[in-house]
Symmetry: C2
Subunit: 410 residues, 2 copies
């Protein structure tokens, strides 16, 4: 038995007759229906189940937002808008997609450094909440409101004075381009009183892709403490306290799923004090990856099978131009394999050690490095799991001018 770290079991999709089922459809049948490989398939039932799981574990009074940057496919956003309590957007482009849903614009919040004047004006006109990233952005928002004759809804994004430990990506603590340093927020709120802005609350986001419940628990504790301190300086009671997200999913060998129950219990324990110190404030948890990553699979087809000096290479029609993260080239210091299977032959009758590569003329184009998979041949389908977030839109689609990938929601 291997003692090497293993991937967490990928049990989110059924396997029937050794074939992966996505949205209840056998993968090879789905490929026929899509009409081409490569494609991304997102399973709407998996997304619904994930939201239900969160509703079970998080305190009843916590509102759930979908951060659509994780997967902005309009069909996915439409589906999520029917499940969650709000949407979080990061650009004017995402604003357009969000406004095409039935979500109340007051439940849409817009974060991101470097918002353009045009984006701010559109957001104000739409009535969405601006998460202010700097004092100068606050001034620009107020000017936009005056120009448009609409009072902007504005929350302050706070760069906290603590860090989220063990996080895949730190978004707060220390010097950052995100938000306003916590210690400068009181002065900013003072200035806000003189401006024609509707104060909405705070956005305190510390980091993303965290698999340690204890780190999230500590961050939540610190977040509420910081919010209580800052609320004393607020020009009005907080409508909303967005405590961010950062719930991770297991990608790599050795990673275990987040203990959601532990995160929920801790949040539950924080609710009584929050009800007293922030009465009437909506507590928002904002999740992107955690809601959609596990519901998605990237599918490509083997076009050549090569043996080079003893190593087997499956050359596919998909690669880093569609799925940069799976190739290990997006914010990863050490390349590790995503969970991968031969989708139409999950277990197979024979197993072998192979590398799965794409069609690009670069050694970076690697979907699986020396992984044990069912023996595959030309025409078989390679499935990359955990691909529902930061997949297609986070990839250099035009690289080497190869055909694009399609996306389907099933």
């Amino acid at each position: 038995m291997s003692t090497r770290p293993q991937h967490a079991p990928m049990t989110q999709f059924d396997v029937v007759d050794d074939e992966l089922q996505v949205g209840g459809i056998a993968l090879s049948r789905l490929a026929q229906r899509v009409g081409q490989t490569p494609f991304y398939a997102y399973d709407r039932a998996r997304m619904s189940a994930r939201v239900a799981l969160l509703r079970r574990h998080l305190p009843q009074q916590v509102h759930l937002h979908y951060a659509m940057k994780a997967n902005p496919m309009p069909a996915v956003v439409q589906h999520m808008a029917g499940l969650v309590d709000g949407l979080d957007i990061a650009s004017g482009g995402e604003l357009s997609v969000a406004l095409d849903t039935t979500m109340d614009p007051g439940r849409i919040s817009f974060a991101g450094p470097g918002k353009s004047d045009a984006e701010i004006a559109r957001a104000v006109a739409a009535g969405v909440v601006l998460n202010l990233e700097s004092e100068s952005e606050m001034e620009r928002a107020a000017m936009a409101g005056t120009r448009l004759g609409i009072r902007p809804r504005a929350a302050v994004r706070v760069n906290p004075d603590f860090e989220l430990k063990s996080s895949g990506m730190k978004m707060g603590g220390g010097p950052k381009q995100f938000g306003v340093d916590a210690e400068r927020v009181p002065a900013m709120l003072d200035r806000m009183r003189a401006l024609d802005l509707a104060f909405e609350g705070f956005h305190i986001f510390t980091g993303s892709q965290n698999l340690k419940a204890s780190a999230l628990q500590e961050a939540h504790q610190n977040t509420f403490e910081l919010a209580y301190r800052l609320a004393q300086h607020a020009p009005a009671p907080l409508n909303t306290l967005n405590i961010g997200g950062g719930f991770g999913v297991p990608y790599f060998p050795g990673e275990q799923p987040l203990d959601l129950a532990a995160v929920g219990e801790n949040l539950e324990s924080l609710m009584p004090e929050a009800a007293v110190r922030l009465p009437g404030t909506r507590i928002v948890v904002e999740l992107g990856r955690y809601l959609v990553a596990e519901a998605g699979v990237y599918v490509c087809r083997v076009v050549d099978r090569k043996v080079s000096r003893g190593q087997v290479f499956l050359v596919t029609d998909g690669g880093l131009h569609h799925h940069l993260s799976a190739s290990g080239n997006f914010g990863q210091v050490i390349r590790k394999n995503y969970p991968v299977a031969i989708g139409n032959r999950v277990v197979g009758t024979e197993r072998e050690l192979v590398s799965v590569v794409g069609p690009l003329c670069t050694p970076l184009d690697l979907l699986a490095d020396q992984m044990e998979l069912a023996r595959a041949d030309v025409g078989d389908l390679v499935a990359v799991f955990q691909s529902g977030a930061y997949g297609l839109t986070a990839s250099p689609a035009a690289f080497l001018s190869h055909p694009g990938a399609l996306e389907v929601l099933v």
Copy 2:
């Protein structure tokens, strides 16, 4: 004086009144002409000068090809097609752009693992040279030729039995998805005699982005030796021997430009023997990055200036969604800064240590990390040098649904 490693001097563009000139146009004027930031600007005179430099240093009989994957902008490809002796393509998409030039299709070669049947058929119909990446691709090429009634032109891409040392990216040696292992090529050539294929020659490509002349010299020596050995098994004399490229450009602090004269002198010394052992064979050097990287600059505008806990951040309207490599997230293990300047104030009256970031909600969106630049404010232009290759097309343009960058050739 700082003893930290410095960037190689960026002298390819003139500076007039402390403002960068690209294509002879002041950068702020060029930005007005483009009509938006961010944009990439490529200077055609710099590309022409680079080709002239190569013609001076490489042996007169060496043919120069442009590997258009480095920059497939059609205007750039048109310009290069008028300067070089051939084009190298990596996909059906690139084939289309290449065929829109006046380049003789027989001087266009198509490399890349995982070519589709449709791509092979188009290439055969066009009369371009297929660089065969595997035995099975050879069979598919022959079948395409039979189907179309056209004799395919086919070279064998060889995975050499040596490595290019000190290379940014190894493309040959050891087990690889590229080409056919050198030791298997004789058998493949035997089989080729039975197929209706026009044998073109060999493509032996060992690696890319190499700054050490001695490593390239050694690889060239080995490449010719290997070609001589394999030529004995060839079904016909070689029309072409493509010895690859791999000439690097300095990106990061401490890197020095390649000693092109030394590379050229060594190649010169190899020519007499080549003329005897491969009479009538065209020797091709295939370059992408080296021809265009230094001719390009990426330009974005400062939209916010923030100070967070003592660090200055210039937030721009450009970022990793346009220029993934400059953000340090494309095949780089340790992030290092590209050379960057404030384009409309190169030296400035005041200097400061700043970080240049983009508008994306991720700490990965970093164009310059704690670099000394002229003091800049909102509206100023940030210029990222060495951006003419693997820029826009190698970036995740759809990430977070922000506006795209434009490209201009001036």
